[in-house]
Amino acid sequence: MKILAVDDEPLFLELLAHTLSQLDFRDVHFATSGQDALGLITHDARSFDCFLLDIKMDPMNGIDLCRQIRILPEHRHTPVVMVTAMSEKRYVDNAFMAGADDYVTKPIDRIEIKARLSMVQTILNERIHTGLLARQIAMVERTMGAKCQFSEPIVLNDARDLVPYASLENYLLRLGNMRLLSSAAVAFHVENGTDIFERASGLEFADMLTDAAAVVGDALKSYNHMLAYAGSGDFVAVIARAASFDQAQVQLGIQEGLAAFSGIYLEEGIAAPIIRVGAAKTNGLLSFGNPTRMLSGAIMSARAGTQAGAPRARGHIRVMA
């Protein structure tokens, strides 16, 4: 794994270098500023597999650096771990909203950083898997043989402002139960997702999901949120609980957004997505179970609100001959 670590404290970078070396991470590069980091990223022929970024740097802080990294097409989904002493929720939230996948606190603990980088390796392996599937679908679009599960939380490469579902789950798991009290989950179910999946090609289905993500993201623009695709035609967002979530208003926003696409779908002969918004779900005050239950609760709420009722049976992509 090729790692770039960015921190403006040289002694910390030395310490990190030795710690990572002891953990057998030997392909590690370093930068002491955001600007230097971007220079390394854009001039290195071989892409980095992981970024370790300090939050508090000057003039470009780690959160802004993360945003700049996410703009680069080759690093839209490269795992970013913030290495920081700033564990307050607002910094963690800002980091995840800028595209970070995880964080580890200073002073660094060898066991914790090993666990975080193992998680990164898992994310990389999952993305290689889904990336391969996406490329396979593209390559054999007009031949028989490629299959993909409707339930797969595929990576939508063209969808801006979408975080991987694994990262969203990880964010909730890292928050802890007390901080979860200030968060809520809202889901968006593509009611005719199964029908579109069965009738359209793999690429057409992915394009539909990308359009849906754009419409949902736009409808949520007045809320601080993180949005992910969970598979099975479900999108889920984590928002601040304090915000009064207006389900009807967001549903209206989505319908207006979809209306703008309807002409294009009509021309292509593909059904336009129908998206239902669920109610905001939170974890209870005395709930000490898996925090990601909030996500599944939100998804069930969105599905229950569809005209179709209970979720339909899952199917396979049939690649068009």
Binding site: L11, L15, H18, Q22
Partner: protein, 111 residues
Amino acid sequence: MNNIDDKLASTIALLRLKFIDGLDDRILQFEAILADLRKGCNQREALCDISALTHKISGIAATFGFPEMGAQARHLEEMIDNQIDTVPIQQIIHRVSPVLQAFLDDLESQI
């Protein structure tokens, strides 16, 4: 695992010496910023610089065997960050100055 722990321990010991050697420079940086504060120049910027310097120390001090130094640095950093946008600058300076002075005295005692 013991071999790894031993190697890391000896690395940390070497870096600890570097950290102690570098405390002089850090103190001088703080003193330069304090001079700006006393002159009344760019006081908001000076406070942000203090926050940045203490942030760097808070991230490494505990690893090098100075947990209290790290905690003091974190406390100073948070004092400034939590007030910089809401409390009048002079009030922040009044609150931070004695804490910063005590912190610098502690840094000097480690040299």
